[in-house]
């Protein structure tokens, strides 16, 4: 079974519960969550407004779990969430959130946006929209026990008293370097960050 859109949406449906419904019901679009989000404050790009990152999840809730949304969907007034949309949201949900929790602390109506980001990531992963690097890391973690793919010998090499480097220990380094460069290439496009 590979990741699929259906699995993703199914996961969304699974994770949406009363707190999530109350959060989405309460949002007044005041924008205060953005004011606390480092991705926004550092870039000034409104798409980093935390609540914006949850839009596909919100629409899923609206269309699946509210009477009004069900009717709107039936009438064709509310467009369904698409795979492309989730793909487009992937950088927002993964790369543009550090799960720091500041937005959840300031939301005047009490929305726990961090919780929702976490829940949304469940669906995104099931949909195959987890970032490539993260998938690799996860695979490595599962298969090798280290997300970075570090093997025991490497650890051993690091932990044994310093010796002149051997060819074996040197060979482990380029891999981790490649990983980090992949992550940086996925930086938000509109970044005006000075960092």
């Amino acid at each position: 079974m590979s990741a699929s859109f259906e699995r993703g949406i199914n996961a969304f449906k699974e994770v949406i519960d009363a707190p999530v419904a109350s959060f989405f019901s309460s949002c007044v679009h005041c924008g205060l969550c953005a004011e606390t989000c480092l991705f926004y404050t550092e870039t000034g790009d409104p798409q980093y407004a935390p609540i914006r990152k949850l839009e596909p999840l919100r629409r899923t809730w609206f269309q699946e779990y509210t009477l009004l949304g069900r009717l709107a969907k039936l009438a064709g007034l509310s467009k369904p969430v698409t795979d492309e949309e989730l793909a487009a949201w992937s950088p927002l949900v993964y790369d543009s959130c550090s799960m720091c929790g500041r937005c959840s602390m300031v939301c005047p109506v009490g929305n726990d946006l961090t919780l929702m980001i976490r829940k949304m990531r469940e669906g995104m992963a099931a949909d195959g929209h987890a970032p490539e690097g993260l998938i690799t890391a996860t695979t490595r973690a599962v298969t090798s026990g280290s997300p970075a793919g570090v093997k025991w010998v490497t650890v051993q090499a690091q932990t044994t008293p310093m010796k002149p480097p051997t060819a074996a220990s040197r060979s482990a380094l380029p891999t981790s370097r490649a990983n980090s460069s992949a992550a940086s290439s996925r930086r938000p496009r509109n970044s005006r960050s000075s960092a």
Binding site: V15, D17, S25, S26, C27, G44, Y65, V106, P108, V109
Partner: protein, 219 residues
Amino acid sequence: MNGLELLTWARGPGLALALGICVFGVILRSVEILALGRKPDLAPARAVTPGSGWRTIFSRSLPPPGMLRRAPLTYLGGYVFHLGFAVTLFFFVPHIELIRGVLGLSWPGLPNSLIDAATIAAILAMIALLIGRLVDPVKRLLSGGGDWLAWALTFAPLATGYAAYHHWFENYALTLALHILSIELLLALLPFTKLFHVVSLFMARWYNGDIAGRKGVAT
């Protein structure tokens, strides 16, 4: 139908209809939300903070440190609007009489000069917030039809009420009828727009506080 007949309709069948839809919607939506249940948090609680949810319901009304300076318009505008609206709604004697007529509850009102000031403050705050929403890139991005509708639904009772009280238009009965009708529209649409936050906010804050409490975070 002349102004007075419209007023009588608004005070009679119109009011019953609007209140009916409002109550219908509030209960429907509340059941709809609460019946979804909570996905259990399987992680062991880091802290036991009884009453965290309840406390958050109130504590979240105050701006966290530094936020006031960061978003002064949103906070000050929000406060002035909400307080002005509440004072106008709950302390203008005719409004108290309406509540007495519906619920049988009553309390002393405030002099009209104060109500007038509160209304003006609320109106100005709403205009400032509207401009803010149009200008601020985040708010503009987040805003959709529902936001403009909600603003109009809230602004209309304030504006028509002010116009009625000050007899801006010759036909007072008609102005008053429009005032009441605008409130009825507000009531009827409240459960189905973001205005539902007046109800769901209490749930949201409670959940937020409760979740944070398990993490040992004070909110």
